[in-house]
Amino acid sequence: MTPSRTALRVVVATAAALVLASCGSDPLSGDGDDGDAIVIGSQDYYSNEIVAEIYAQALEADGHEVDRQFRIGQREAYVPEIESGDIDLFPEYSGPLLQFWEPDTEARLTDDVYAALEEATPEGVRVLDQAEATDQDSYVVTREFAEKWDLTTIADLAEVTDDLTLGANSEAESRPNGPQGLESAYGISVDFAPIEDGGGPLTVKALKDGDIQLAIIYTADPSIRKNDLVSLEDPEGLFLASHLVPVASENIDDDAAAVIDEVTAAMTAESLLELNQRSVDEELPAKTIAADWLASVDLD
């Protein structure tokens, strides 16, 4: 083969690869400018994605067009997109969202948090009704540890004479409900071990291995029940009440809002736990879990 033909082949092959690659960027780039479709987002958290999928299927069943933009990282990544109107509907949690917009909030109880959240919501965005279901941070210990020291509330930790190490995401170390909060609200001092899985399996394993004695885990996490862990009560209100609450843009009309309100009304605490459990234990995709649940509450 002559060099010129070889060179030609290199060029052709490269061009072909480039074309391939540029086609590839197409299906990946979802800017959500999909006409009148309602853009629904979700956190990069399996439980949140199931709820978003439920919203999507309920709206589709009612004849709306829906554009799914799921698994968008953390709050800092997606909240700007909600505020700018690029995302129309997003399942959120009242307490953490309020803290995101208003870090110094004093509100702790369910209704106070919801009222403060309505206040704090920026222009062009609103929160719909909140659900009974909660998914909030809680201090968790093993059953064995709870029985050994007779613990039911966080305050009881004062009786523990062993060293206590708290395992949680890094941000807990500087947040008011982390070690500082334990010290100031309950007078309990703990060491801190960062584990970056948001109270996931690694945190649970560390608890069971005894590497940590105390962890922050979501109340709706099935691993609490599965691993026989105990959530300690929080009489001083370190953690804000955190109910499931849809955040909506102006693009959500009354008709669509009514559909979501119906879903919210059916979303009990037990429902959310069950949805999470099916995801973790039966290893089902969000689509299936959402469809089954909507059928079970006659909203399909």
């Binding site: 960027s25 968008i72 997109e81 948001g198 089902l284």
Partner: protein, 226 residues
């Protein structure tokens, strides 16, 4: 493997997304590295600075790079562009040294005879130097390909879907088989692309075995093959 049965559609979808993200970054890395490496080869004075810059880029941890790129380019954090740009930077940094080596392997005699035959600078590059540097170039591209396919997974940490999503999702849900599928599919994809490159290399360097064959026969050993 209940998880795989329930989620096979999703795995296929994520594999395709992963493939496109990786291909875009690999192709961009190769084009950029050949261009930059060519400059470094032709001008020895800038060679050291360019190679030093390449090791600086390679030393930047991936996670902050994913945060900084959107700040600089003004694209959303979870845009595929962010990831492709980051991976292109790594890929180019990894490849540039090999490109310089590849051009250095082109025999000076071959280059001189091409010039004597009337090849201009452009023709010399496209028809002689680039094709002849393919074997070394390809070895570098193979390394970049395998590492890029692996690195696409980190996009999952900032919400860019790929097989990496199975790693973070599987971790959250505590489903080991999901993580395992994510790891195995990523490896399979890397090795498949690597295999494709080897095949492409054979196609592009058909001149090579002929050269070796002739070189082995005593009479042909002095022949110059262009």
């Amino acid at each position: 493997m209940t998880w795989l049965e329930n989620n096979s559609d999703w795995v296929v979808e994520l594999t395709i997304q992963h493939l496109f993200l990786a291909l875009a970054a690999i192709v961009a890395s190769v084009v950029l590295a050949v261009a930059v490496g060519r400059v470094a080869y032709v001008r020895p004075r800038v060679r050291q600075p360019i190679l030093a810059a390449a090791s600086v880029v390679y030393a930047i941890p991936a996670l902050p790079l994913l945060i900084v790129i959107p700040l600089v380019l003004g694209v959303p954090l979870r845009s595929p562009t962010t990831l492709v740009v980051a991976l292109t930077l790594y890929g180019t940094a990894l490849l540039v040294g090999t490109v310089v080596d590849a051009f250095s392997t082109v025999d000076a005699g071959v280059r001189d005879s091409a010039v004597a035959m009337g090849y201009g600078r452009q023709a010399l590059f496209w028809r002689v130097e680039l094709p002849l540097s393919v074997p070394v170039l390809l070895s570098g591209i193979r390394v970049v390909t395998v590492s890029t396919v692996g690195l696409v997974t980190i996009g999952a940490l900032v919400g860019i879907s790929s097989l990496g999503t199975l790693l973070t999702d599987g971790f959250q849900r505590g489903i080991t088989s999901e993580i395992l599928i994510g790891v195995l599919m990523t490896m399979a994809l890397a090795l498949a692309l690597d295999g494709a490159l080897v095949a492409l290399g054979r196609l592009l360097t058909r001149w090579q075995p002929r050269r070796r064959r002739r070189a082995r026969t005593p009479l042909g050993s002095t022949e110059v093959i262009v």
